[in-house]
Amino acid sequence: MAIALEANNINKYFMTPEKFHALKGISFKINQGEFVSITGKSGCGKSTMLYILSTMDTDYEGSLQLNNQTITGQKQNHLAAFRNEHIGFIFQFHYLLPDFSCLKNVMIPALRLGRLSREEIEHNAYEKLKLLDVGGQALKAASRISGGQQQRVAIARALINEPSIIMGDEPTGNLDSRNTAVVFDMFRKLASGYNKTIIAVTHDNDFAHKSDRIIEMMDGKIIAQ
């Protein structure tokens, strides 16, 4: 089975307010199509690690490979293009752009990628919104819909460029149990149906236990995987 992610001996230090060893020599692999939950107490470094995996944080030691490409040491612009194409990121808060409609929010990463025509992108964005059951909200401003709907629009945005890896920083942390179930089912479908790799940081034990694999962290180390 192809490897989607390989982390080798990753160390991360925070310099302010004082030097703090946040990640201590973390190494692991994730296969393609795997649905992995990362759990641990607050401050154990799981979000820190996720941001390194997401390529946004480049200030670390060790090496990281995504989709068999070496990420460590790449230029910011290259990383931005890589994120745009290969990674869908879902945040705890929806972080939609409030001045745009839901549809536009979903379209923006694809317009940035610029691989398809505007009409095709609009069609795909509609499809994604329908898939997440928020097709009816497409033309409303992103700030005018409910929290659960916003999170689903944010997921649609993460999916628009058909990324092979989807990362979530507590993607269900702000949702009620009904919406959590919807999101989980979506992830499950993406992992087994579309062979997408899902990496989600979560506090929700039910969510974690239903996933394929749990990476548990404590004090900057992996204690179980």
């Binding site: 946004m56 944080d57 945040f91 972080y95 752009l97 317009l111």
Partner: protein
Amino acid sequence: MKIGINTEIAFTYLVSRRKQTIVAALGVTFGISMFIFMNALITGTNEYSEDTMLNTTPHIRLYHDNELSNGRMLNRFAGNKTINLISNPQLVPGDNRIVNPDAVTSLLKQRNDVTALSQQVSANVIYSNSSVQENGNIFGVNILEQNKMFDIASTIMAGSLKSLSENANAIIIGAGLAQRLNLSKGDYIKVTASNGASKSLQVVGIFKTTIKSIDNTKTYCNIPIVQQLLQKDRAYITDIYINVKDYYNAPAIGKSIEQLTGYTAEAWQSSNEQSLAGKKIRDIIANSVVITILIVAGFGIYNILNMVIYEKIKEIAILKATGFQGAHVVGIFIRQAMLIGFIGAMAGLAFGWLISWTVSKMYIGLGNVTYLPIAFHVKHYIQGGLFGMATAFFAGYIPAVKASKVDPVQIIRG
């Protein structure tokens, strides 16, 4: 039209913060409208004073200046056996005539940078009517040629130019002289030269330039009259007035005419240096005012963009997280600044035109200034638009670069 995603985002931000956009654009509008107005006023004033100058001064005056004595004659007399030096050479008061003026004129006519030529001869005279006398200068000219240069016809109050060329013993006098000597059209005036020669001439026209020194002293008559007053022959011509196409280039053209003819050429610039200094000072004043205003407008854009970026810092982080590169973020905010600049500049051009137009209707009524001189030049509007955009660009660049440096991890994680 295909609109890029950066432009679309910039545009949406502008529209969603309408008030801020308008305030920022108003800064540019004000700056550009002042730019237009100041330029229109200063250029109008400059053109007015230039017109006034060129209504009395030709672009180039060609005349025969006194020469320093040289050793040419001495060499001819003493030969090359000795080195002949003239210590303390003096100016030789010569005949100030231009030799064979028609040949010189036709030579000049062949140049394609010359637009008009007029031969003339002038004399200091005393005008008298009964026992009242006035000093002045009489100019013997071909009035129709001279009219092409100075548009004398437009200053004529009574009579006509044509009657001067039709009547050999005619004279056109200034309004001031007419008043002082109580002359009107059809009356006779006695003109006496310094050598005692005198002529009685009929007034066929009265002109008014509103420049007092000219209206009180200057008169026009036919060339032979002055030649007779000076007791000279029919070929006696002292000046050739030359108008050229590019009169800003008159000094250089003058130099080449000097070389061509051997006579002294004086460009209008050298006889009007004071006025040109005034023009320069006006330009500097106008430019400093305009630059100040544009800088203030630039700071307006800078401030508002900084505010926008502060407000949108989370969204910038998200854009970067979803794959926008630094250059894309710069692009978004530069576009935003440029759009503000564009809107502001367009409004500024319209508003500047409106101010200029309104002010050009202001009645002054002093001397020959009836309405405030205002120039409407397309050049100013193009410059104004470009300056507005440039100001917006520079004002937007710094905040845009700042925005592009946002670290998404720091912002998203708080």
